[in-house]
Subunit: 187 residues, 2 copies
Amino acid sequence: MGRWEPDAAGRLREAAMALYTERGFEGTTVAEIADRAGVTARTFFRHFTDKREVLFAGSEELEQCMVAALAGAPPSAGPMDAIAAALLTAGELFADRRDYSRRRQAVIAATPELRERELIKMASLATAFADALQQRGVGPAVASLAAETGVAVFRVAFERWVTEPGDAKLADVMRATLADLAGLTTH
Amino acid sequence: MGRWEPDAAGRLREAAMALYTERGFEGTTVAEIADRAGVTARTFFRHFTDKREVLFAGSEELEQCMVAALAGAPPSAGPMDAIAAALLTAGELFADRRDYSRRRQAVIAATPELRERELIKMASLATAFADALQQRGVGPAVASLAAETGVAVFRVAFERWVTEPGDAKLADVMRATLADLAGLTTH
C-alpha cells in the first residue's frame, strides 16, 4: 500500500457498506465502491478479491482468536467453559464495532448469497471449535455437540446485540445467553 | 404418475444415490440417472426439478412433521421439551432409513454445493422451530436460542447415528445427545 493511500482498506470498507445499504449488495459494483472511496478499482483488488470479501475479511482472524482463547482456557475448564472463553474473546473484539456490525448484519440479512456465506463461516467456526476441544482431550461426539452449541450461542447473542436497542456490551450479551442456555437445559 | 412406472420416484432416488456414490454428484447427469432407473429424462423431471432435488425432496415434510410435534407438545412443556418432541419425531421418521441416510450423508459431505444446501436446510429448520416456540408464548430471544440449540443437537445426533457402528435407533441417539447437552451446560 503506497503512503498516498492511507487506510485505503478502511475507506473501501466504509464506502462499500454505505453503498450496500443505499443500493443493496447486488446493485453495487466494485467500480462504484472504489470511486466513492477515492481510489482506483486496481487498489480495491489489492485489498479484496471481490465485493463480497469486503464483508468477510477478518473472519479468519476472528476464528483464530476465538480458537486461541478456547485452547488457552485452563486445563481444568470443561468444554462449555472453554467455549465460553472463545465467545467472550469475540465480545472484546467487537466491543466498539456495534454500528458497523449492525449495518453489516442488515446487508447480509437482505441478500441470500451473503446469508449462505455467513452460514458457511459459522460451520467453519463449529469445526474449528470441535477440533480445538478434541485437542483438549474431549471425545469427538461431545466436542461436536459443545462446538455446535457454542456457535448457536454466538449467533443468537450476536443477533441480540445488533438488533436490541440500548448499548449492552457484546461480552455481556454472550454471558447472558450462556446463562439462558444453562437455564433451558436444566428444566 | 402412470401405472406403467410404479414407484418411479423411488427407483430414481436409488439410481441417483448409486451413481452419486460411484461417480460423485458432479460427475452424474440427469440422463444417466433416468437411464439407470429405466425411465426417460422427462419422467425424471416429473418427479424432481434437478439432480440436487433428489437428495432434498422430503425436507419440507420432515420440517413440517417436526414443527407439528413441537407445536403439539403439552402446554406445560418447556422450550427444550418441546424441541425434544420434534427431535424424537424425526427419530421415528428415519427409523428404517439408516442405510440410505448413511449414503446420502457421504455424498453431501463430499460436495461443497450440497453441504451449503444442507446448511440452508438447517437454518430453515431453526427458523421454523423459533417461530413455533414463539407461538407457544416463548419470548423471541429464548425461542431463537432453544431453536438453534435444538438444531445443533439434531445435526450432531444425526451425524453420530450415520457414522457410528452398531444399530442404535436414531431416537435413542437423539435422547442421549440431549442428555449430553444437559450435562455440558450444568457443570
